[in-house]
Symmetry: D2
Subunit: 298 residues, 4 copies
């Protein structure tokens, strides 16, 4: 297993970033990530100093995957996401966006430190939430454009989809030689929508096995769990992202599993599910259980 | 128990519709509803004749609730939703809206008849989906405006939220004397988003107990299951409905359960969930488990 | 010329409203309208009492047009819009919607009374704006649904399009016998977007000639000036309304003027214009100069 | 006057692009640009070969402005925009986005070559449109992220605002040393919304004088003509961009001209105007006549 300890951090998912580690397809990597706050919030009372660190979502990597080329797909199997310092933090600075209209404008500075222990994340001394770790931001460098780590897009990025979690495999389009995989922005817990703009953010150690699917091209990120397949789309208005994500799912069901697309449309209408990433940028995943896909393909 | 067999159907949720049944608060009612196709699709090959029946979602009722006045809330506890003729139907006429951009334009006429038996709805001879009945359209007549049964709004209407199901209680604002509760548009199964525009639509028999909460005013529909509370909001863009539904939920948590609103915002960020109604009109429900609400209120 | 002095006012555009006046096609009518504030703001310091008058945009009429039937079109030629009491008023109560995010939340109560004289409306003692009167809300009663006077839709309604002005002809779909034309909500001046939610609102006297186009069906409102044709669409997101309004315009150019639709699309790309109604509900008009339409049809 | 003939073209607005020309503030530059099609459409029958040239909107430059630093503003006064080869071209490849829902899916390949002469652009042998040249894409390189030339944002980019025209001054935020001004994508004519996705696209020669405003920071692009000031905002839904652009305009009126913001809000409500860029990405400019601004400031 290869190791990549915390090193230089990047605020763009960019082909200009030099690889920090080179692997062969099929290798397992253990990589350390910093939290979205650049580590500036470690105890109650800490504040983000935006003058010092204007950007969030620092990325570890990039990882060079030998043999990867434009048109391939990376299959990132996430084995484990560990809370690197045993805690997570929340800050509501961004909540003003979209919520002030409904909740009022006096959103407090409300830094919260949540210990992670016993499979729980302690939102308060009384309230233990299930520890459901996830990677908020992940993607391969595009060949045109270098997005910052704030938006999401066809390349992945700041999707904040909670199904990017341990046990699942994330499929990402490859655009440049070596793929240049970036990741960071781990969460200890997050609901649908990442309502206030940041979740329970944590420095993490991520263990993952990275495979390369040669000459298999996908338009946008996909996820596979033991039971489900999922497709991710981003953009406003969100209702359009819902339609796009489901359409991607239906086309996947047709191509790989043999479910005719109009049957797939009907089936997703009946048993499809939506998982919502950061609501403000309209990221969603469309999901369906594999048992229905297999049954419909018969 | 009072009974209301299928009678005159309405295509508006309107104070101009005369009551079909009068009940006292606390009474249980058994009411028959027609499907969204006005019963025009009963077997493979049947087609909607829009010249004959231009509107969908016919409503049964309205039910007059004694003592109900503007500013009250109706609590509709749904006991049971039965498939009245043992089958449901799907039609993809509306799928063009929003999906043609992604899936192509040649969406077929694809009428599907799905038998309901043994707790399943048979989408095809090979594919049995769980029978998860729900009421797509429900609401009390507004005091200004008479919406058709296509949109949804603060009054309820065509929400297509799958949590409007048996075992749950739906709370609806009352605007006029007697409340004038309308309902219809039952589904045997529906996923998030009601992707193609109609689900597995069925004529149903709905058994429900209707309570009246005097002088308790709510801004929009709410739902309560044994484990969760939920709030429903509608409108485009959907990302705004997500923010509005969550904000309603947070204010409900504050008022009734004593969770300070900014704590509620943080909690919904970590464990809130979104259920998507008909995606094209941006209806969503925001949900949270009661165990978290109670714990956070301590 | 027939006269309709101010009488009972309506807050819905509804087939349930009894006609206040009956005319024959081709007749000229002089009709008095109240302002959107129900006349509650006549001098500085006046406030809207929402408890007394919860709704805005009171409508005069409805006018029964003899012979009008579903599927016809009403052609309303607006001759003159006069400021009935020589002044207009503005109030920024609704500005919070959408603007607080950018401008801050402390939007003041800021009632403004603007005298109308010498072809100007005096926004302040120093600032005279051109008097450009318009009718904010106009439409024929739908056959299904009775919208309040807040939204807009295919029937017209609260479009707030400044081209609904003197000298222009507005075309409106007829849905019920007699057409039942409602109108009100006149403005002395309004820019694109009706940014703060109300413009310079005035009680008005509207002189108009109403023609009936038998068996000519239009999907949504249209406007014709001496030089331009225009089509109106409503809905969020606004970018979709822009596409819909232009598409209506292109189809009109094809049907009536003989410009093939793909040429029309190209032409609207080059010289089409957009006029924005109330931005929050996404109402826009797409416009093109007739000289281009005629030239392209050759 | 400095000259920059057509040279290497860029498809990102990026700090990684090496300067092609260095100037001192106040200098006039004559720069050649290629059209959005990379010059692949020069005569009827030419087609875009997306395999060869996958990206559009090639950029000339970047221009290094001596002394420019993050936090400054570039004032680009556009003197002249000439049609470099005496013609423009249109192609409707992108029209499918958003329009197929309304116009049908069979949008033709419809390449059109339009000669530019006598102050007109000849859309067809019979239809002469006014030659109203504009620069579709312009901006300084951001310090984080390298956007492609498809989107627009706070840095400028593919705004497609027709007021970026000769005689006007465009103000652009500076993010990196030297500013690194990119531009391209000139149009001979374009209406509101750039409906089909490309306008009358032309290779151009742009003459402009570039000034540097030290330590004057603006959040997003601004434009000034002899009579008007304008602010540009981008994003979906477009109704939010309208609110953001107007809010920028109101804050500009307050800061530079002394109009209190709530007066500015009222004034923009009455006489503000919206110009629509590429509708699909929600770019708009909010405008107001300087005569009103000056009068309101008294």
């Amino acid at each position: 297993m290869k190791e990549l300890p915390l090193g230089k951090l990047y605020y763009e998912i960019s082909r200009h970033n030099p690889p920090a580690l080179s692997i062969r397809p099929g290798e397992t990597v253990r990589i350390e990530t910093e939290d979205t706050f650049n580590g500036l919030i470690r105890k109650e009372g800490d504040r983000r100093d935006l003058a010092k660190k204007p950007q969030g979502n620092p990325q570890s990597g990039p990882i060079w995957v030998e043999g990867a080329e434009k048109g391939d797909t990376l299959a990132v199997h996430i084995e484990k996401i560990e809370a690197r310092i045993g805690q997570a933090a929340n800050d509501m600075t961004w909540a003003r966006r979209g919520l002030a209209e409904f909740l009022g404008h006096d959103i407090p500075v409300n830094t919260r430190i949540a210990p992670v222990r016993d499979g729980k994340v302690w939102w308060s001394p009384n309230v233990a939430l299930p520890y459901r770790p996830m990677i908020g931001t992940i993607g391969c460098a595009p060949d045109f454009g270098s997005p910052t780590t704030s938006p999401a897009g066809d390349y992945g990025g700041n999707m904040d989809i909670k199904e990017v979690t341990d046990g699942n495999t994330v499929y990402l389009p490859v655009y440049v030689e070596g793929a240049l995989l970036h990741l960071g922005d781990a969460h200890a817990a997050q609901g649908d929508g990442e309502l206030c703009g940041t979740a329970l953010e944590m420095p993490a150690t991520v263990t993952m096995t990275i495979d390369l699917l040669k000459a298999q091209t996908i338009p946008r990120p996909r996820i596979r769990s033991r039971d489900e397949i999922m497709t991710v789309a981003t953009g406003r208005p969100m209702e359009r992202s819902v339609a796009q994500a489901y359409s991607d799912l239906i086309l996947w069901m047709e191509e790989e599993f043999g479910v005719p697309r109009w049957d797939g449309l009907s089936l997703c209408t009946m048993v499809g599910e939506i998982s919502v990433g950061y609501h403000f940028i309209g990221t969603v995943a469309a999901k369906i259980k594999l048992e229905y896909v297999h049954a419909a393909a018969r």
